[in-house]
Amino acid sequence: MRYDLLYIVRSATRLLFLVFYGLFWFWLLWKLGEGMATWLAEPEGNLMASWILEKELARALFLERPATLSAYFLIAMAMVPAFVIWGASSQTATDIKSRHLRFLIPRCGRFEIYLGRFLGAVLLITLPEIVVGTIATLISVQIDNMDIATVLVYALHVNSIVIAYSLPYIAFMAIFSAWTASAGLAVLVAMSIYFVFAMVMGVLTIRWPESTWIGYLLPNALKTQLISPDGSLILLALAALVMYLFIYFWVGWYIFRVRDL
């Protein structure tokens, strides 16, 4: 794990990801710190939010809970697929391509390598999420008109769900990383599948409303449940995320196990 962290810090592509991730959130948190989201807690702001979200959800997120943290929550959930597809693309891919794994295989098992790279990607994605989530929490404590305990409990909830939502995508990228043996190609294939799938689902559900179940092939179908205020829905969605995680992880492992390295 220590070696994976060193590898992350020394890898130009991973550093580029961290720099871009950092800049994106620096800019957004700066805006949130200036009170960009506090107006959503006002009646007129909440009315506008309810045009995009359901009225009940807008109310729950921006009136009953810290508005700044809720805004962070929605943006983070929307950005998870894009950031994870990029950040977790090079789990085994780069080392398969450079054949660096040939130095490791006589010393440890393929599963240990696969798991190690997966956990490395989990660290690369979740550590920045925790840092950004913590800063968002501090901003919320400063500017939202809520008591600290409420903000902290909600912050725990938000950060846990953002991290939980990221995990299946990391496992999703483990599949393409092992399959394509190229980080760039893995991003391209995963992005294509993600967007083509979203477009196909958009058309399908208009023409054939019963087809919504197909959307559950990807975890983004659970986003609505994960941001809802309904605890039982959230628990159900979290259980489904665990299932996605295991299925994607296993498919990725199968590909890595049988492929020539």
């Binding site: 070696y3 060193l6 020394r10 440890c108 098992g109």
Partner: protein
Amino acid sequence: MMPIIEIQELSKTYGAARALHRITVSLERGQPIGLVGPNGAGKTTLFSLLCGFIHPTSGTVRVLGHPPLHKALHGRIAILPQDAALIKTVPIVTQLTFLAQLQGFTRKKARQEAQRVLECVNLHQSGHKSPDLLSHGMLKRAAIAQAFIGNTELVLLDEPTAGLDPATAGQIRELIRTTAKDRTFIVSSHNLSEIEDICGSVLILNRGQLTEYKTISDLVARTTCLTFRLEKPPEKEVEVIFQKLPEVTKVEIGSVAKQQLLIHYHESADKAAHIRIMQVLHQAGIYFLEMSRGQSLENKVLEITQNK
């Protein structure tokens, strides 16, 4: 004693291309084994199968009694892969320390082991540098160093001296020689004089098939043959001049190098037979530039691989 490697009907194909075809061989522990053959013969594929980098299309492999990738093999075999790269941005000593830790060393001992193997390949002063700052030869030495970490029982070296200057190549050969009593080496190389120098036996692959597996002295008939490099190619009827020597069994003109003359004689012939053969050559006015006992491995391998 259990063979160090046991291969049964091993085949590997890449699409329509056949890399290895139905190889069956059993290799014993002991002196270094050379793995030779022309480009595309399947040497690197065989190493990759032995280490579990790739999966066979058919057949079985057992290394130290276990299938490749078996947990029991971890840290017991080492390989210098031909085309694998170390991580460009992480210092060599850090990478070797990590690899030693994977082999079971504690962090402190692993660091010492990394230093030790770097000293073995004369790279200890550059250990703190990352691979992107090292020359090709230094990278090769770093890759060789990782194959000498710990007390492995089997070391596979794919082209260990290719790309190294003669002095460093000599050091690597010396390293193999001095450590060969503790472990079995399989060395793949196109440098056949190097194979002849360090190996006791040789495995010849050609077009994915195993063509020979013999001790080098048997293969080059060291005790029953003399090879002469002549000033000019001999006459086709040269064997006639040896009729008066009953110990001479066969006279051949080199099939690859036409200026070579190979004279085979009975194993029971006395040492003076060499003198008598030279006297016959002298009397026939045939002068030689070089004489050696047995055939050269290079010629023998060329002969085998070109005739097949």
